[in-house]
């Protein structure tokens, strides 16, 4: 018989407000095996923990039940407390009487009754608990960063600077991500390329960083400290090791009409191309959809002009297998498609553009070499209308329900820069709310209004109608003046909502990292563990976790790196002792468990058994590798004989809980 101590927490009034904690500790004190029962204001406080520790020593407790908040909150706290008092930490069970009782019920007798039942279930389970010892598994001292935008770059640099090897996998031919397409950055108006490209070069030159550009993650196996990743290096038909990035090929390629994705299709590139001048690695890539040589074998000009002999039309996708201790997701974002927002006329007029397109139009390396010209006729626009919240904060199903967070600030930046360069333009910004909570952000926005004379109008644009003469008729409401405005604009810029990159969802499945309904990666705790995924060993950097501007992305990237460094600095990880275990005497060796194990933790061995008639018989039995097993329990149900059981969540423990809950009539 166990000697069990019960500790009921008030959690201030969080629990005690709806649950009669004294009645609970009194009722539970009469349960079999309970030798000590007490209630206290804050069990998780130091004084509360000391109560537990003292009781363990004074009453020789072999089991502890804490009736408190969710075990997801403080299970570890109490396990540590128990351990420090000499009790095996896995002899502690938590009855969740806060999140799953006091906070959802209003009526005290009902909530108290339920709390007692939950307490009984925990006591019933503790009776069957056995001390468990955590095992150890080694840590591979290399990190993988998926995505080579500013988030991935910063994380990789920080990890590498701490002395650990880092691989960056980037699906595009160059690292740099969205930031390479930006012109200036708020709130200081630095040139994006000027602050980003040195970091890209640092990555390329860092002896600890290895860049897999034009590559994708194909398969992920393993677990924290021991991930096995297959990386697909897509065929770029150019030998990376030979190409010098001289650009001879891209100048000579006869296929000229390929829409240039770097400039969002506003100008053209060749079939063999280097995305932009500062690309890292500066290596050409052949687009097989357009290259004549790859399509029909007629051309081969680039191979002829390449002095380095780097062109390889026969190149195939390559698969590289690498091992990592930690994985950082930095897959970033994209603007949404505007198909659902035809009222803004994006598909009808070339002069209705997205903000990212506007960035390219004002960038010196862009299609207009930095002069702001209308895409339709190449003339200077004189009236520009910026529309905010296009597709953001939209619950109608057309757009995204969340605030995209970066639009207010970049729109202020666009409006300000336009007025600075072209003081003769009229600039209108239609806003619902201006959100500028960052450091120096509101001052920045106010400068656009006060110093640069941008017309900020509270209200939304309802319709943009292109007129035959090329003007855009903008119909909008001015809510403060109480009028409907009709503006003849030359250019309309839509602050398009952003969404996670499409590759994030399949990646999350591979990583078994959870996502929210918008396909943003979920963090382990919204406030306290913002850069970790709930899946151990997976970390989050940048906009893959939620919309973020550059300063926030860089801070998060550094935070993720710090977490990775903390992990890689360990030589060994203690493993979860709640793993499956096979009882050889009962095992049939049927392989059902092995089939459902996602980690390949189960192997079979032939073992000799003594039979009742004193003969021996060799039987095939399952054996679980506790370092690999993650404790899901799939095998326990696949096993018909019940030979496979899960420590900490055994068949008899769960059934004891079921019995305790169902007992009350």
């Amino acid at each position: 018989m166990q000697r069990i101590g019960v500790f009921v927490c008030w959690c201030g009034s969080n629990i005690a407000g709806t649950v009669d904690v004294k009645a609970v500790s009194e009722a539970l004190s009469h349960e079999p095996g309970v030798v000590y029962s007490i209630n206290y204001q804050y069990m998780c406080s130091e004084a509360g923990q000391n109560l537990v520790k003292d009781a363990i020593r004074d009453y020789n407790l072999t089991g502890v039940v804490i009736c408190s908040c969710s075990p997801r909150m403080h299970e570890n706290t109490f396990r540590k407390a128990a351990a420090s008092a000499g009790l095996n930490p896995y002899m502690v069970e938590i009855a969740n009487i806060r999140e799953q009782c006091s906070w959802i019920h209003k009526d005290m007798p009902t909530a108290t009754e339920k709390a007692i039942i939950l307490g009984r279930a925990a006591i019933a389970k503790v009776h069957l608990n056995a001390p468990l010892m955590a095992g150890e598994s080694p840590v591979i001292k290399r990190a993988l960063v998926i995505g080579g935008g500013i988030a991935g770059i910063q994380t990789a640099l920080d990890i590498a600077d701490a002395g650990f090897e880092v691989d960056i996998v980037e699906k595009e031919p160059t690292i740099g991500g969205k930031m390479t397409q930006l012109d200036k950055t708020f709130p200081t108006l630095d040139c994006a390329a000027c602050i980003l490209t040195p970091k890209m070069v640092d990555c390329a030159q860092h002896e600890k960083i290895n860049i897999f550009s034009f590559s994708e993650v194909e398969k992920v196996k393993g677990f924290v400290g021991n991930f096995h990743v297959t990386i697909k290096k897509k065929a770029r038909f150019v030998d990376e090791t030979k190409c010098t990035g001289c650009g001879e090929c891209t100048a000579k390629c006869p296929v000229k009409g390929v829409p240039n994705e770097f400039n969002l299709g506003m100008d053209n590139r060749r079939a063999i191309y280097i995305p932009f001048a500062q690309a890292v690695p500066k290596v050409a890539t052949i687009d097989p959809n357009y290259c004549n040589m790859l399509k029909n074998g007629k051309c081969g000009l680039c191979a002829k002009v390449c002095g380095a002999g780097a062109i390889d039309y026969k190149q195939q996708d390559q698969f590289v297998e690498r091992e990592y201790g930690a994985i950082v997701v930095a897959t970033g974002f994209n603007p949404i498609k505007l198909d659902q927002f035809d009222e803004f006329g994006y598909s009808q007029s070339k002069d209705v553009i997205t903000s990212l397109e506007f960035e390219r139009l004002t960038n010196a390396a862009g299609p207009t070499s930095g002069t702001l010209l209308r895409p339709s006729d190449g003339k200077h626009p004189h009236t520009i209308v910026f529309v905010q919240c296009v597709g953001s904060r939209d619950t109608s199903g057309c757009g995204k329900t969340y605030c995209s967070r970066i639009c207010c600030m970049y729109t202020a930046k666009h409006a300000m820069l336009t007025r600075e360069k072209y003081p003769d333009t009229d600039v209108y910004v239609f806003y619902i709310d201006v959100r500028s909570p960052g450091k120096n952000y509101d001052e920045f926005y106010r400068r656009a209004v006060e110093q640069y004379g941008v017309h900020y109008i509270k209200g939304m644009v309802g319709k943009v109608a292109p007129r035959a003469d090329g003007k855009l008729m903008v119909q909008a409401s001015d809510l403060i003046a109480g009028e409907q405005l009709h503006i003849e604009a030359d250019l309309v810029v839509l602050a398009t909502a952003i969404e996670p990159d499409k590759t994030a969802r399949p990646l999350a499945t591979m990583l078994t990292a959870s996502m929210d309904t918008n396909d943003f990666f979920t963090e382990a705790h919204a406030k306290l563990r913002p850069v970790e995924s709930p899946t151990a060993g997976i970390f989050l950097s940048g906009a893959c976790q939620g919309p973020k501007d550059i300063p926030d992305t860089v801070s998060q990237a550094g935070a993720a790196a710090a977490k990775v460094i903390g992990l890689l600095a360990k030589d060994k990880l203690t493993t979860n002792p709640c793993v499956a275990e096979s009882n050889e005497l009962m095992c049939n060796g049927c392989s059902s468990c092995e089939k459902v194990c996602p980690y390949g933790a189960i192997t079979y061995l032939d073992k000799e058994f003594r039979m009742p008639d004193r003969t021996t018989m060799v039987r095939r039995v399952a054996s679980v590798n506790p370092a690999v097993c993650q404790g899901c329990g799939a095998c326990t149900v696949a096993c018909p004989s019940g030979a496979m059981d899960l420590k900490g969540f055994s068949n008899s423990q769960i059934m004891a809980e079921v019995d305790a809950i169902c007992q009350m009539k």
């Binding site: 959802i104 078994t512 959870s514 769960i654």
Partner: protein, 146 residues
């Protein structure tokens, strides 16, 4: 005073996977979303840990409804656990139905860690359904008592 008929309070056992649904239940609590106290949650590491034996045992001990909550298919913390759970439960529920047991007493619902509201709504709905069905007698009565 005539004896008042005591309103039927069903006994509901909810198995919740540790990573999604248990967290979803916690979120329902954090957001103070109400659902009946008849629901008692048992934490399991994954929906695939739930053995049909547990469900039958609950009914044997007088539960009126059993619900299993796990991560959405594709989101399992252990990659594939809920896919197996889905097959097992589909077959088990179909069998119970085949035996003439009210099929509404069993349910599987996928609740993510972000879906506190869904958790509460699911529980409200399930309790309502089971309350309407009344006490669970059939599984027990499948064999005549005498």
């Amino acid at each position: 005073m005539p004896n008042e008929v005591k309103a039927f309070k069903p006994k509901i056992v909810a198995f919740c996977c540790n990573w999604c649904s248990y967290a979803g239940a916690d979120l329902a609590g954090t957001n103070r979303l109400n659902y009946p106290a008849d629901v008692k949650i048992i934490r399991v590491p994954c929906s695939c840990r739930v053995n049909p034996m547990f469900i039958l045992r609950a009914f044997q001990r007088g539960a009126d409804g059993v619900i299993l909550c796990g991560c959405h298919p594709g989101d399992c913390h252990y990659t594939t656990g809920n896919y197996y759970a889905r097959r097992r439960m589909t077959l088990l529920f179909s069998m119970l139905d085949y035996l003439g047991i009210e099929k509404e007493r069993t349910r599987v619902e996928w609740v993510s860690a972000a879906e506190g509201a869904k958790f509460a709504a699911t529980m409200n709905d399930f309790v309502e359904t089971v309350t309407r069905l009344g006490e669970n007698k059939r599984l027990e009565d499948l064999r005549c008592k005498e």
